[in-house]
Amino acid sequence: MLAGVAGGVSETVGVNPIYVRAAFVCLSLAGGAGFILYVVLALVVPDDPMNNGDEVAPRASRPRRVGMALMFVAVMLFLQAVGLWFGPVVWPTTLVVFGLAIAIDTSGINYERSLEGVTAGRRSWWLVIGGLAMMVAGLAVVLRSLDRLQSFGVLAIALIVAVGGFAIVAGPWLWSLIEDLRTERRARIRSEEKAEVAAHLHDSVLQTLALIQRTDDPKKMVTLARSQERDLRSWLFDENSTDTDTIQGALTSAATRVEAAHDVPISVVVVGEANLPSDKHEALIAAATEAMMNAAKHSGATKISVYAEMADGAIDVYVSDQGEGFERDSVGDDRRGIRESIEARMQRHGGTAIIESSAGEGTEVHLTMNGAAK
């Protein structure tokens, strides 16, 4: 982790680098031998820029692993014999360090992804528990040798050490398990959303595109495209605009229907916000729809504008077109649309309708409904 010596050694001999690190730590307690060895190796062994983890020695066989362990013990004993030794804590500490190393290695936690060839061992809970036991035993010996062993304290300390060791060993593994579950859940939600989007696009956009390809009439194409656009917009950006309880939503959906029936684009602009009691609301929307219908059917205009202004007290709706217009007197009695469906309906619910039109000047229907509140 410092100069990459442990990683390099582990690649060469084919063991998990955690053992190599453990060995360096223990050898360092033997009169600093491990530390010196580490520095020497760091200086002498050349950097190998070509080896970026692709060529890793295969995992050493069991006899080789045992052999290396015995060699390590031999070196330690030799150092003890020649006096390179920091006292009685060395052996118990070695026990603790290797116990931890075994526990980590055999728990299957991969601390070093670049060395997967070496570290990808099997997970063995027996070895994990054995490693932890080794650790606890080593620790107990260390504590006793430091003469701080109390009859009660030992249990508590052993417990703390065991729990701590377990947290170190199993914590990352449990965490990765939780992470996996989360990732999986996110992926599932995403794929569900994607499926919903696909279903919606299939039912709406693809159908419309198919219809457009089968249509010869450019006007019809524009209407199809527009109604699809409006539909897609309301689905993407604003679920409320299709809510017919609001003036805006009701006017927009009425406009969409008239547009689809008569192939004339209708733009809807709404300012302010207010609501009407439901009977007045319905009367106003019905009258406005009738006005749009009339404009679409009779005016010959290429577009129709709907503008609503809402304030405390009253709602004004203007339906304007720049088509042929008409003279009121020339409309036959058989056409009851204007009188019945617009004027009389508005009056019944306490509103007014003013129709302004003359031949060649277009038509504007101005509806006012009182009794609005925010």
């Binding site: 656009e229 917009r233 733009s267 602009v269 709404v270 302010g272 503008y307 203007y318 304007s320």
Partner: protein, 210 residues
């Protein structure tokens, strides 16, 4: 001939609009990238820039803001599929002189470009609606009452635009000259761009513009 420049990250739309306008205008350049567009516009200095709102790298607001810093004479017309108030108002506040949606008819688009080139403002019915909405919901603050409210005449002109009338018709309906209609619209634009009042800011923040 009026020189125009097109900025849009949808190449298909770019080539379509450019073919559509080539007869009536001198298309001096086009770009599908915000940063490149800023440099190219500074070099070409066109009369009018048609700019899309949603683009990676800061969008239309970045193009308008950066160019106006060095070349205040270039005029911008925003052109977008979006008809959301936050997009519209943000473009206008940054300095665009008009806003139209991409579904606009070719003749109306040409008319809008000519208006912007002449230094006028172009308000679509929905933009007029947003502006009325913004000013209607707020109470003018003391600081600058001239900027912070619309005159009754300006409101009336905006209402007529929202109802779908052309300037010529509005002039006739209100018995004023077309020039006066244009003056009212430009003054509304100026108020939108200069007005600092916190009511407009709040209106904007309610709609997540700021």
């Amino acid at each position: 001939m009026t020189t125009i420049f097109l900025v849009d990250d949808h190449r298909l739309f770019l080539s379509g609009v450019s073919a559509e306008l080539a007869d009536s205008f001198d298309v001096v350049g086009q770009s599908d990238d915000v940063d490149a567009a800023v440099d190219m516009i500074r070099d070409a200095v066109p009369d009018v820039v048609l700019v899309d709102v949603h683009m990676p790298g800061g969008g239309g607001v970045a193009v308008v803001g950066n160019v106006l810093e060095t070349h205040p004479g270039v005029r911008f017309l925003a052109l977008s599929v979006s008809d959301a108030p936050e997009d519209v108002i943000a473009m206008i506040r940054t300095g665009a002189r008009g806003y139209v949606t991409k579904s606009i008819a070719p003749d109306e688009l040409k008319d809008a470009i000519n208006r912007v080139a002449a230094g006028e403002a172009v308000f679509s019915p929905s933009l007029a609606g947003f502006v009325l909405d913004a000013f209607a919901r707020s109470v003018p603050v003391e600081a600058d009452p001239d900027l912070d409210s619309l005159t009754p005449r300006e409101q009336e002109v905006l209402r007529q635009i929202a109802r779908g009338y052309q300037y010529k018709q509005i002039a006739k309906r209100l018995s004023i000259s077309i020039k006066t209609v244009e003056t009212h619209v430009s003054s509304v634009l100026r108020k939108l761009q200069l007005s600092n009042r916190h009511e407009l800011a709040r209106w904007a923040s309610d709609r997540r513009i700021i």
